[in-house]
């Protein structure tokens, strides 16, 4: 069960979710034993449909419909870009972290996010695109990243709120992706989810400490939760009624649950945890609904979500400028590495 497993930082706040990650890993191992099928287009399509229907995995060697391939490239690339851009809002607090222990944890977390980006670009490359092409599409705006990273990190408590809410929402979104029908994506998600649970826990611990600290620390924590709550809810995407890619994605078993179902899980999970944290969720409409056995809550402002996705968030320009600067200022280094490697090739006799 989702939700009920989320008691507090000491109770292993991700026990149930990690169990699902492991089950997905076992399914992948079984799928890897399957052979490759060849034949005429109709037979290939039949085989693809049968694999999906049987909840097996499509692997890079398998035939797949063009739309399946394109949709996956779009989704995996956007996910990879999000990991890379996502290093920025938190990274800016590494030099300012208030204790050496927190500095070390934050450094490790931001490093993990770079690693996640690398796994995901590698998964996308199995679909016949190169990382360089995808990065170009990010830099020139043809591909997007998660809108959540366009909000600023104003205080140290934002590091706690991001870990708890943003990484928390990412886990709820991503655990079902460990069972995604495309093998390399599922495998990347398994590695990533194992690390994300540490990210969520460290954020929760930061808020827990702040909430029980001085008055000023408690207020800092509440203010951060107030600002990150609705943007985190928006991470699950538009409501099911307006979601464009959902139905096909569900049919192909890339996506397993609708945006609204996942958002509901996230809310139910957070309500409990907020109680333990001693922090208030900033929604006057939040209440338990006995009939639905779930919380009623106020939906995020989807118009704002669309504006931020289109580029009008508080930090869109800053995030892209940082990424473009790192890329262009690193060009001479990449050229040097390529030139050096070429010289080494010449030296080695054929």
């Amino acid at each position: 069960m989702y939700g009920n497993d989320f008691a507090g930082p000491d109770a292993g706040s991700d026990g149930g979710l990690l169990g699902q990650v492991e089950a997905a890993e076992a399914a992948l191992r079984a799928a890897a034993l399957r052979g490759r099928v060849e034949g005429d287009p109709a037979a290939l399509q039949d085989y693809f449909d049968a694999v999906i229907a049987a909840d097996q995995k499509i692997e890079p060697r398998d035939w797949m419909p063009d739309a399946y391939r394109r949709g996956l490239v779009r989704q995996i690339a956007q996910h990879a870009h999000s990991e890379i851009i996502g290093m920025q809002p938190e990274g800016s607090w590494i030099t300012r972290a208030p204790s050496l222990k927190r500095k070390a944890i934050l450094l490790a977390k931001v490093q993990d996010e770079a690693g996640h980006g690398l796994y995901l670009y590698a998964a996308a490359e199995t679909l016949g695109v190169s990382r360089a092409e995808l990065v170009d599409m990010l830099l020139d705006g043809r591909q997007k990243y998660s809108s959540i990273f366009n909000y600023p990190t104003l205080t140290w408590a934002d590091i706690g709120a991001i870990g708890w809410l943003v990484d928390g929402a990412a886990i709820v979104n991503q655990v079902p992706l460990c069972r995604c029908s495309y093998g390399p994506y599922a495998r990347a998600m398994i590695r990533i989810c194992k690390e994300e649970s540490f990210h969520q826990r460290q954020g929760y611990e930061i808020l827990h400490t702040l909430s029980r600290g001085t008055q000023a620390q408690h207020e800092m924590a509440q203010d951060a939760v107030d600002r990150w709550w609705y943007p985190s809810l928006a991470m699950f995407g538009p409501p099911d009624t307006d979601s464009t890619h959902s139905a096909q994605s569900m049919a192909w078993k890339i996506k397993r649950f609708s945006n609204d179902d996942l958002r509901q899980r996230f809310v139910d999970m957070c309500v409990q945890q907020a109680g333990v944290l001693g922090l208030r969720i900033p929604d006057p409409g939040l209440r338990w609904n006995e009939e639905r056995q779930a919380h009623d809550f106020t939906a995020p402002d989807y118009d704002e979500l669309m504006r931020v996705i289109k580029g009008d968030g508080p930090c869109n320009e800053e995030r892209m400028a940082h990424r473009r600067r790192a890329h262009s200022e690193g060009a001479w280094v990449r050229e040097a590495a390529a030139a050096y490697a070429a010289k080494q090739q010449e030296v080695v006799p054929a």
Partner: protein, 235 residues
């Protein structure tokens, strides 16, 4: 016999290095390099925490790693000036990494075998890490030195600019199990060998700049600001 100042010197070198590298998040020339620089920063920070904790215990005044990191002013820091130098481009990151790890690697190796048990344990752990730092610094010095004209020019400039500060690695009258001055010959031959293989010039010796340390003051102001704004708070 190990003095507080001796351990502080080692801990502060590592801490200031981690602080400088920590500013390179999401700014490396390649994503793999973001991961590598964070790795090195984490190693340095890990060593700094062990060393500062030990320094606090030797001092016996109840100061822990955070009291020493966050509540001393620039004048009380014992690091060598090399580590606080700014890194205007990736060539400076690499030049500093090579110059420092060529010192830390034999230092930790010697400490691991010397008489102070705590420093021997810390040295034993940091030794493997600093061997990786030295490998990484060497690899990139070769790539940049023997890469393109531009990379050659940039990395040569970084070594030329930083060279006067390298003398500071070996000075200090703090007493500890391994004398810093005893590492100079090993350091010199390691660095000169890499520079030569990288087709770079070994800069000519020049006296270490003295006087104010505005870069250290600015670095500490950023690092300590939040901690100092909440006296007595836990994080």
């Amino acid at each position: 016999m190990t003095t507080v100042d001796y351990v502080l010197r080692l801990g502060d070198d590592a801490l200031i290095t981690a602080q400088r590298l920590g500013a390179w998040y999401a700014a490396g020339p390649e994503m793999e390099e973001d991961v590598a620089l964070a790795n090195i920063a984490l190693d340095q920070l890990g060593a700094a925490r062990l060393l500062l904790t030990y320094a606090g215990e030797l001092e016996g005044a109840g100061r822990d790693e955070d009291a020493l990191a966050y509540r001393r002013s620039a004048g009380e820091f014992r690091n060598c000036r090399l580590v606080e130098q700014p890194e205007p481009d990736f060539a400076f990151v690499i030049a500093k990494l090579l110059l420092l790890s060529s010192f830390q690697q034999p230092l930790y190796e010697a400490l691991a075998a010397a008489g102070d048990e705590r420093l021997a344990a810390i040295g034993g752990k940091a030794l493997k890490e600093s061997a990786y730092h030295l490998d990484h610094g060497t690899l990139w010095t070769l790539r940049l030195g023997d890469g393109t004209d531009e990379s050659h020019r940039r990395v040569q400039e970084a070594f030329d600019t930083l060279w006067p500060y390298t003398g500071g690695l070996f000075v200090g009258d703090a007493v500890g199990p391994v004398e810093f001055a005893s590492l100079r010959d090993t350091w010199q031959s390691t660095v000169e060998d890499v520079l030569r293989r990288a087709t770079l010039e070994v800069p000519s010796p020049s006296p270490e700049p003295t006087g104010d340390r505005p870069q250290l003051v600015a670095l500490l102001a950023e690092m300590q600001e939040l901690h100092r704004a909440h006296p007595g708070a836990r994080w």
